[in-house]
């Protein structure tokens, strides 16, 4: 690509009239600059994102195991894909992921939008409190998630104590991360605590993008606040809400750190989301070929869903 740019640069230098030539030679042609500026990023992404992806695809058709680099590698076709798609454990992992993604997004969107709406009332000190609310999302999910395991301890944890204080339940009678029923909600709660601020910020941007004069016109027409909310605020903020849902959806589909440290997929495999299964297959059982195939299935799923979603988003935007 650089050669093409160079060629055109020489071509332009040769054909230009004398006066601008000096400038073009001194300053490179626009096309040369464009490629000079863009290509390092593209090269880095090719080396660290695309090449590994291609390698993953190739490995997914083999029985390669990373802990046995000298063993003979056999091409086994689509065997891995077949066994993954018919494996009940994989479907259980997909269900755990779906549960996690669905509930985190639902709760965070409602909570985040509500908070944004309230912050947009511009009460005294709203800037300061917005910053305070932001803090959890800035922190490391792994480091903080690890500490939530302490808060969730049945006898000594603060969370159980607070719940028992308000409900009268015995604090050692329930285990947030030790019980099959509660563990999926334990991770939903921590993720919501961390990421509601993010949804709030994007919604806030949406609310602030609505021009004042629309509300003024609505006031002149004597539309009620309730009606203004449903006919102006919500529809006009919808593209932003959908964007927040997209970002959170992609992130939580890939969820690893928080779950790995809070429950590590347990108890049993109740909270074993897709990334945890992938980690077990790839870095504990060392089934590199199998896990590569699983990785590709996950990537295609998230890529496909995101594409469909972006189409819907664009429709809403262009309305």
């Amino acid at each position: 690509m650089n050669d093409v740019a160079k060629a055109s640069f020489i071509e332009r230098a040769a054909t230009a009239t004398p006066a601008p030539v000096a400038r073009v030679v001194k300053g490179l042609s626009d096309r040369a600059i464009a490629w000079l500026f863009i290509s390092p990023t593209i090269i880095l992404l090719l080396a660290i994102n695309i090449f590994p992806l291609v390698w993953t695809i190739q490995l997914s058709f083999t029985n390669y195991r990373a802990n046995r680099p000298n063993a003979e590698v056999k091409n086994i076709g689509i065997d891995h894909f077949q066994s993954i798609l018919t494996d009940p454990d994989v479907w259980a992992a997909m269900q755990a992921t779906a549960h996690f993604v669905f509930w985190t997004i639902l709760i965070q969107t409602i909570l985040g939008f509500a908070l944004a709406y309230l912050v947009d009332r511009r009460f005294r000190g709203h800037g300061f409190w917005t910053t305070v609310i932001l803090i959890p999302m800035m922190l490391s999910p792994a480091v903080v998630g690890n500490f939530w395991a302490f808060l969730y301890q049945p006898q000594i944890g603060l969370f159980n104590y607070v719940i028992s204080f308000f409900t009268g339940l015995d604090p050692s009678s329930f285990e947030m991360i030790g019980s099959v029923k509660l563990a999926p909600w334990a991770i939903v709660l921590v993720d919501t605590w961390m990421w509601t601020p993010y949804v709030m910020l994007i919604c806030l941007a949406g609310l602030r993008s609505i021009p004042e004069y629309i509300y003024e016109a609505a006031e002149v027409d004597r539309a009620s606040k309730w009606r203004q909310f449903w006919t102006i605020t919500l529809p006009m903020a919808l593209p932003f809400i959908m964007l927040a849902v997209l970002f959170r959806g992609i992130e939580n589909f890939k969820m690893f750190d928080l779950v790995n440290l809070l429950t590590n997929g347990g108890p049993g495999s109740t909270t074993e989301v897709a990334s945890i299964t992938l980690k077990r297959e790839a870095f504990e059982k060392w089934r590199t070929g199998y896990s590569s195939a699983f990785a590709i299935i996950l990537f295609v799923t998230v890529f496909g869903l995101a594409n469909i979603y972006v189409k819907a988003l664009n429709k809403v935007k262009s309305r």
Partner: protein, 318 residues
Amino acid sequence: MSRGISHAHSIVEPGPLSRNIAGIIVIVYAVVALVPLAWIFLTSIKTPPDSISYPPKVIFDPSLEGYCNLFTTRSRQTAEYLETLAPPSGLCEKIARDRNMVIVGPSNYAPRFLNSLIIAFGSTALSVLLGTAAAYGFSRFKVPLKDDLLFFILSTRMMPPIAVAIPIFLMYRELGLSDTKLGMILLYTAVNVSLAVWLLKGFIDEIPREYEEAAMIDGYTRLQAFFRVVLPQATTGIVATAIFCLIFAWNEYAFAVLLTSGEAQTAPPFIPTIIGEGGQDWPAVAAGTTLFLVPILVFTVLLRKQLLRGITFGAVRK
């Protein structure tokens, strides 16, 4: 955000009552959300017995034992042996003696923390450099397949980190980049640069082209116009982008836990492995967590304006 325009007499301004109610709800939420963080700090200045007492203690004698344990490794000794030793010299040594221990050396926390600093700042600098250049390229020039390239750059973020880690693990093993700081810097840069390009393109798109064109008519070359006209205008955007890259690299766990174990290990995979006798040493874990979170807390408060602008970029129009 819409500074300069007065809303004082606007008819759509919310009334004082709805304003105050909104304020109270938001403040209650913020305070509740801060409780876990306050608890991390309180735990870090408790003694191990205080940290696991029931009911949880809010009032206690503060102790530096957590911080001492975080930075040292200790070994248990018999009382007879301890009596033969000279009196303890420092505070941490004294705390250790009270628990029938002696300090045998520094822990790995400080080097892991330093690794976090090097890798986070290194990858941020590189991401912003590459991202600014690419964003300008995409913003101002006709690039063939521009939309496809931009989408390709974004789509690299959709890969689950574990999926990327499998081939990266193999590739780094071949190249000798396993467990090296350079390897982690390159990897984090690759992850961050896509975000950097998209964020910065938004910022640069907003800078009117007329500025550069005017400069170029005045005799600036394109590159000079970029450095002297566009870059100063894009400072806010660059700072905002740098903050995001820094926060991501500082907090990253999945790649770090799978691809590093010693030399290049960062703090996030290290902190959960801090254990005392008989399980996790929660005050030490809390101390490590507190120290790790403080830089980000300071950042968030100092640079909140850029942060807000970064997250809501492009959305705020006059």
